[in-house]
């Protein structure tokens, strides 16, 4: 009993407890560079594991692995850079980031580049093309956290109305591209902010019912390919060579891996191209086939540790803005993991969500690491605040 109370006391007290000894009064090296060593270690381990799987999933292409490694390196730099900014700066810039991204979404709507049947890309001629919706994944929680951080919490109804507006504008724009997956993820990030801010349980229940009753409406507004995905999810065998192929092949890959897996580079489903999109969205099936249940559990545990560390750090934030933003970032990160693994293992419909930091792809890695940079900034700048 005493042990338990000790633990809870320490859990409650430690993040805000001022430094006690002269030793710890001196800022550690890590604090000075504004990085969290534990989180960094976990992320780097995950990236390393991801590259190993990617080598196999890309058909043993060193070129793909190198390209991904460079992207991850860039992402780490972005993370470290953002970590240097103080939360105060972030909070100040939040409306600008949100407003700018919103404008870009409007630009996409008006003159975006069409790729794969959807308008998602914005091209800055000669420089780059990118998806503003990706940026919104960060701009959205920043804006909401900045807004709610100045208000009295838990948020009251007028505040909630403003939040709803902030949420709805970009989400609708992204959904119209159409990119239902990203719009839902952006909405999820926003909802996490509001939930963490202390939205009353009564409201939560109310909105849950509202969303449930809105589902048929959503269904009616879906594109054919989106409906097909849901239908296929419900019964993959109905079209085994068409829409059901992906899910049948990915569950087959995972299931045939067994406890210990077929061994690195030995997965037949993966190496013989039965698995679709094996180095992007379905990369976890490669992991499951070649490293088995043990590999899957290890990676899931790694994600759990990252989420745990993230939640821990967000609890250490000194103001509402930092807490809400950090909490939302880390929970959204988990949602990515859950949706991706859930989809590949066949308990969720197929939506285009990559496995964070493991799937091949630049934009999402950079966005995610930028999020972790913000998280570290929030964690490492707290002692600079006046007491």
């Amino acid at each position: 009993m005493t042990v338990l109370s000790d633990l809870t006391r320490s859990l409650r007290a430690r993040p805000v407890r001022p430094p006690q000894s002269g030793m710890s009064r001196r800022k550690s090296l890590w604090m000075r560079v504004h990085l969290d060593p534990w989180l960094l270690l976990l992320l780097v381990v995950l990236m390393g594991a991801g590259l190993i799987v990617l080598y196999s999933a890309s058909g043993q292409s060193m070129a793909v692995v190198e390209a991904q490694a460079i992207r991850l390196g860039v992402a780490l730099v972005v993370m470290a850079g953002l970590a240097q900014l103080s939360p105060v700066t972030l909070m100040r810039w939040a409306p600008l980031a949100y407003g700018g991204t919103l404008l870009m979404l409007v630009a996409v709507e008006v003159m975006g580049d069409v790729g794969m049947g959807a308008k998602r890309w914005l091209i800055i001629p000669g420089v780059m093309r990118f998806q503003p919706s990706e940026l919104m994944k960060l701009a959205m929680p920043m804006m909401l956290a900045a807004y709610l951080g100045r208000r009295q919490l838990p948020p009251r109804v007028p505040d909630l109305m403003v939040c709803a507006l902030i949420l709805a504008l970009p989400v609708v724009l992204i959904a119209r591209q159409p990119d239902l997956g990203t719009s839902l993820l952006v909405a999820t990030a926003a909802v996490f902010v509001v939930l963490l801010a202390g939205l009353s349980w009564r409201f939560i229940a109310f909105f849950s019912v509202l969303i449930a009753s809105a589902l048929p409406l959503l269904w009616m507004n879906m594109h054919d390919y989106q409906r097909q995905r849901v239908l296929t999810f419900l019964n993959p065998e109905s079209d085994p060579l068409g829409a059901g192929w992906n899910i049948i092949q990915s569950t087959t890959a995972i299931g045939s891996g067994g406890v210990f897996g077929k061994g690195w580079l030995e997965g037949t489903q993966s190496q013989l191209e039965f698995l679709p999109e094996r180095h992007t969205d379905f990369i976890v099936a490669v992991l499951g086939e070649e490293f088995g249940l043990i590999g899957m559990l290890a990676v899931l545990c790694l994600y759990l540790l990252i989420v745990a560390r993230g939640l821990w750090l967000s609890n250490g934030a000194q103001d509402s803005f930092g807490r809400l933003l950090a909490g939302s970032i880390i929970l959204t990160f988990f949602i990515y993991v859950f949706v991706n693994v859930g989809m590949v293992s066949g308990i969720l419909p197929v939506v285009g969500v990559p496995l964070p930091l493991v799937s091949y792809g630049g934009t999402s890695s950079v966005t995610l690491m930028a999020g972790f940079g913000i998280l570290m900034s929030i964690h490492s700048h707290r002692r600079l605040l006046p007491r």
């Binding site: 838990p154 092949q249 890959a253 299931g255 037949t268 293992s345």
Partner: protein
């Protein structure tokens, strides 16, 4: 400071709320991760067996390796059936995007005649399993291959593949004996072992090719290959080599066979030659023949119809299936039956007034010589082919005894080891008539059978076989076409050979032989012209068969009818008498001018075989003798 504390208190409460909320979130995170893990345990532990099987099935494909069909040689090692490399057009439906467009393009490129298009489309649907190539067309020409190659990019799933195709260098003379292979049809597909025939497109349809299908085909091999999702073979995991079909050496002598075809000289009929001591069928000819190579690649409809409707029935194997009245060729066998039954002795004589009358019956059964042969004993009765003697003998024997003894010589039965589609002919009996017509047997009918007419019907193969048994002094050797199967020699003593005919007095054989020898060598012999200048002892017996319904059809025009109503000429022979090397039956349909025509052919066959000589110095003048 107070203001500060206020803010701090507020912050504390907010922090508390956040802590509770994040704790709830952490619980949810653990819960959801637990759900994922449970799903993974279900897939990877509980359902592991299901999925490992599924992934193996995905990856591993078993491809059949068809064996090479055995070659067929004649007794001297001359190649009769070989495998020639040709190019085939195949199609894998699964790899074709638009099947109708592809077929239309192919039909256009190959310049197919309209009549072939339906069959072509039909073939594209014939296969046993998914991803199995369907054979659309065999034996592509160089031009067709070139056209297909140029348009290859427009034809995914369509391949030109090399294949060995059966070829018969001497199709015209060997057609009926060899038979042919053809494309496996839907009906055969159900009967063949699908494993062994998975990669095989052809199967023996008739003749030796059909009878020895199992031996010639061999055992299919297989290879396990790893394929990727698009079905491309990446590597071979394992392999069982096919066992090629066994080569077959026939008892047929190609030269003798060829001679027989030449001797028939375009007439309809059949010649069968058997080596009596071994049962080896030396020649088995049915004319007209046909080009069996046409059937290998799939004969076109028009040509097939032409063959089918040809009034000469080129597709009909007369040697094995043609039913002919035996005519007088039955007489030596009748005589032996009489001796065994004790109804006659060789020296018993009758007086022939030119006809025979049954007791209490005014009807006269005529001898072919109107004024009769006078005093006739058994030997002379055979030599001059006296009908009256055999009417009398038949009457005394009765149909039951005749039927019994004729069966001993193989009449009314299938006699050979391996001739495909062999007919039993018809050896009538009291029971048969009761069953067939629900009528009693009349004594007059016995007389007809006694001279080889009436209900009695024999095949050329049966006649030759019975002659061989006769020449063998009753010792049965089953006639056969296979001399060696692979390296194994086919034994002379085959199972289910009929029992030897044993008689009390072995000299009776010689008495019969004497009568038959005189047919060719005697002053009164019915084939004495054909026997002129014989350099060895040859026994024979002529026969004339009244025409029966073979091929008779209302479509015939008057001229043809007249020609086709002429009698068939028959001749059986064996030589040398003291050491028989060959037994022959010859049937020339509608030969007219009596039976002598056939006897020359038999003589030439025997000369060729025994003297190794191939001269066809037949003088065609013939007198109306023999019946």
């Amino acid at each position: 400071m107070r203001k500060h504390r206020q803010a701090l208190k507020n912050a504390r409460q907010e922090m508390h709320t956040f802590r509770v909320r994040s704790l709830v979130a952490a619980c949810l995170v653990v819960l959801l991760t637990g759900a994922l893990m449970a799903r993974l345990v279900y897939l990877q532990v509980v359902q592991h067996d299901v999925y490992i099987t599924r992934s193996e099935n995905n990856r591993v494909r078993v491809e059949p390796l068809p064996p090479t069909r055995g070659l067929i040689y004649d007794r001297n090692g001359e190649l009769l059936a070989e495998n020639r490399p040709t190019y085939n057009l195949t199609l894998v439906r699964e790899r074709v995007d638009d099947i109708d467009a592809t077929l239309a393009l192919l039909i256009d490129l190959l310049d197919l005649p309209d009549a072939e298009i339906d069959a072509f489309r039909e073939r594209s649907r014939q296969r046993q399993r998914p991803f199995q190539p369907a054979l659309l067309m065999s034996d592509l020409s160089e031009e067709q291959i070139a056209k297909l190659a140029v348009n290859r990019y427009r034809l995914p799933g369509v391949e030109v593949e090399a294949q060995l195709l059966r070829y018969y260098p001497d199709a015209k003379i060997m057609s009926h004996a060899l038979g042919f292979v053809g494309r496996i049809n839907a009906e055969e597909l159900n009967q063949l072992d699908p494993g062994n025939y998975a990669g095989t497109h052809f199967v023996g349809k008739t003749g030796v090719e059909r009878y020895y299908e199992d031996e010639l085909h061999g055992q299919a091999g297989l290879r396990k290959v790893e394929t990727n999702a698009r079905g491309r073979v990446l590597r071979e995991l394992g392999r069982t080599d096919p066992v090629p079909g066994k080569n077959l050496t026939l008892t047929i002598d190609k030269d003798l066979q060829s001679l027989a075809v030449d001797l028939m000289d375009g007439r309809r009929g059949s010649i069968v030659a058997i080596a009596p001591k071994t049962g080896e069928i030396l020649a088995m000819v049915s004319t007209p023949g046909f080009d069996s190579n046409q059937f290998v690649t799939g004969i076109d409809v028009a040509s097939y119809r032409a063959l089918q409707n040809d009034i000469d029935l080129p597709l009909f194997n007369r040697a094995a299936r043609g039913h002919y009245p035996a005519g007088s060729t039955v007489k030596p066998f009748m005589a032996l039956s009489g001796l065994v039954e004790g109804e006659i002795t060789p020296s018993d004589t009758i007086y022939d007034p030119g006809y025979y009358q049954l007791p209490n019956d005014s009807r006269r059964y005529r001898n072919w010589l109107r004024w009769g042969h006078g005093k006739v004993d058994m030997e002379r009765a055979i030599t001059v082919s006296n009908n009256t003697y055999f009417y009398s003998l038949a009457h005394e024997l009765g149909i039951d005894a005749i039927s019994k003894h004729m069966h001993q010589f193989g009449f009314g039965e299938r006699v050979t080891q391996d001739v495909y589609g062999e007919s039993t002919g018809l050896m009538p009996s009291r029971e048969w008539k009761r069953e067939r017509f629900n009528q009693p047997w009349y004594p007059g009918e016995t007389l007809s059978v006694g001279i080889g007419q009436g209900y009695l019907q024999v095949t050329p193969l049966q006649l030759a076989t019975a002659t061989a048994v006769l020449a063998n002094r009753g010792h049965w050797v089953k006639p056969r076409l296979a001399k060696n199967i692979g390296d194994e020699e086919v034994p002379v003593d085959l199972p289910d050979t009929k029992q030897d005919i044993t008689i009390e007095n072995n000299e009776w054989w010689d008495d019969i032989y004497a009568g038959m020898e005189n047919v060719l060598s005697g002053r009164e012999g019915t084939a004495r012209r054909a026997g002129k200048g014989l350099e060895y002892r040859m026994g024979g017996k002529s026969g004339t068969a009244q025409v029966f319904s073979l091929g008779q059809d209302e479509k015939y025009n008057a001229d043809e009818l007249a020609e086709r109503l002429r009698d068939h000429a028959l001749f059986i022979a064996f030589a040398p008498v003291d050491d028989p090397q060959i037994a022959i039956s010859v049937i020339v349909e509608n030969a007219g001018g009596g039976s002598s025509h056939a006897s020359y052919l038999a003589r030439d066959m025997a000369d060729a075989w025994i003297l190794g000589r191939d001269d066809k110095e037949t003088d065609d003048d013939s007198e109306g003798d023999g019946a």
